[in-house]
Symmetry: C2
């Protein structure tokens, strides 16, 4: 097969980890006889510096013409003082919106080889296998107004949590579809005892649930979910929630595996292209130090092979290689532990390639 | 001293745990020569059933005339289908608003005797001593509009995250005052890379920080905070955040001690009365089973003695008694562990009283 992949390294360690994904994809292409064409675009702070905007039109065009998008990370202290519309993060939010990436899928799995790097007890996390489905193009992230205002002559500010019912419908339905192929359970997270939007969310979930008699639906309040995620993570199969709750809970879930540096994500739309990015950020503190963990990005590339190109065997080859490298004791700094071999970003990439 | 205390047991296990606090306060009163007058009011589902509203006027009057308010818990499946304004939770939100309880203080401390009930490794939680300061009368909880609406003829819904700058100011300032009496560090949690309200929040925190050269201010994004809370909880001293983020993070923090059933809270205003409640809910599943943990409520009463009545020694007497009872191995079901003596709610109350 021939596939065109838009590559947006972004800022900070984005460039370093993206390099890993590309090298691994090259190796997979050679082994399985595929041709991957990579074309590079700018996003985030790098784009602000070069073109004065966090998401130049050329980048958008590149993405729309490609079969899939790989994204590193955006952001950094250099741009923190900019107004919101000129921040690197705005580039990420805009690309999500323009490509209509309504659902972000974040799998969290237990790695027995990493059980010693998690702050949780082994018996709590052993066997965890959870898929977070986060709504990605609505809610507080995009609602208007989002601005400074006045109330009785006093300074005030407003952000808006807005959803169309249909936006809830498509992401919750997707969660049910995914649950069907897994263990058949959906936990829908909301704050229905306070928010009107959550009450609508719950109604939509109930409606959809009627069409999936084979899937169990459970509702959970977001505060309780934040607790249950740590107390008893094995209870979760597919978790579906709105944008901001999903942002918080999926980062929280990352502690289960021990490091953000391990976690890939896929953002999907109705008609493609999909976008793949690690859930970690640009980590400016370790930028250029060859210390970042490339695994989240490499596993994001594996998700791309599976979900965008239907290359199941190829995806598994990458996932197996990662597992073997971990089993062999190779560790980047974030997952280092006593008695293991600590390696740099580029050494980790080499190990994965060699194992392929 | 003579003190008038409004007691609002509410729903579910609220009644059972409130009983414990009252008995313990009686015992303290006798020992230290104080007179506590308890007067009872209805709130939540119990009030809906009796008076058709989750917060009757009599209850509000009772609270306003009292020196402090003790609240059990509200809510239950019986009232889940009610519209939002007729739900038990609305009584809680309304009392917070009417008494102007702008800050909710939730201390989380490590109990060495309970280290085996936490899902976290002992070395992660050993020595944790954190105070969460949650804004309690603003944000998404109270912003208008909060309603169903239409967009281009499609069903939609909106909630509003609204803050006056002054509302941010008073709660962040309080966090700095509290940090000064502790380890001198404030972590301000926001989502300043996305929300305009968070950008204002950050500015206000910076402003206040200038007046507290002896306190270190650190900003943390809410997704990162949800992760750090578990990964490295010892880094936190005082954490201050807006209402919804605080709701999520403080329940999450409860896993550090092993059980929600251990955690008290105080909600304070500018001119009193303050309100004290456990952070757990009404737990309808164990209602009437004499299985609830009364310690969170008892420790809330201790916070009342300290913060509302200036009775430091009396508060410590309660806290010491609780510690001794735990050290002696008594455990309610939620904190039960192998080799310890499992007791009922009333037995736990008796043990604490006897130890006083
Ligand atoms: C960088 C930021 C805008 C983004 C978000 O909040 O969605 C990030 O935290 C994520 O989860 O992808
Ligand atoms: C019962 C509910 C409305 C309440 C809240 O969300 O504030 C509770 O979760 C709490 O934290 O006190």
């Amino acid at each position: 097969m021939k596939k065109r992949i838009a590559v947006l390294p972004g800022d900070g360690i984005g460039k370093e980890v993206v390099k890993g994904a590309i090298e691994v994809l090259q190796a997979v292409g050679e082994r399985f006889g595929h041709q991957f064409y990579f074309s590079y675009g700018k996003i985030g702070g790098t784009a602000i510096d070069a073109a004065g905007t966090p998401l130049p039109d050329e980048t958008m065009e590149l993405c729309k013409e490609s079969d899939a998008v790989l994204l590193g990370a955006v952001g950094g202290p250099k741009w923190d003082q900019q107004p919101l519309h000129l921040r690197p993060e705005r580039g990420l939010l805009k690309i999500r919106k323009e490509l209509n990436l309504y659902a972000n899928l974040r799998p969290t799995q237990y790695y027995s080889s990493l059980s010693d790097t998690s702050p949780l007890r082994k018996e709590v996390i052993e066997g965890v296998d959870m898929l977070m489905v986060r709504e990605l193009t609505g809610g507080l992230y995009f609602g208007k107004p989002s601005e400074r205002t006045q109330q009785n002559g006093e300074d005030a500010v407003v952000d808006t949590l807005f959803y169309q019912k249909e936006e809830m419908h498509r992401v919750i339905k997707l969660a049910f579809e995914l649950a069907r192929k897994r263990r058949g359970k959906v936990t829908s997270v909301d704050k229905a005892n306070v928010l009107e939007s959550s009450r609508m969310w719950r109604e939509v979930a109930e409606d959809i649930s009627n069409q999936y008699p084979d899937v169990v639906l459970e509702h959970m309040l977001v505060d309780n979910a934040a607790m249950q995620m740590i107390k008893n993570p094995k209870q979760f199969d597919v978790v579906v929630t709105e944008n901001m709750f999903g942002d918080i809970l999926s980062d929280e879930a990352s502690v289960l595996t021990g490091s953000l540096g391990m976690l890939p994500s896929a953002s999907i739309s109705e008609n493609g292209p999909y976008l793949y990015e690690p859930i970690h950020g640009s980590a400016p503190d370790i930028e250029g130090k060859n210390a970042a963990n490339p695994i989240a990005m490499i596993l994001s590339a594996a998700m791309m092979l599976r979900l965008s190109f239907g290359m199941e065997e190829e995806a598994e080859a990458i996932e197996n290689a990662v597992n073997q490298v971990l089993d062999a004791g190779y560790r980047t700094r974030d997952i280092a532990s006593f008695g293991k071999k600590q390696v740099s970003t580029s050494e980790m990439i080499e190990e994965v390639k060699a194992t392929l």
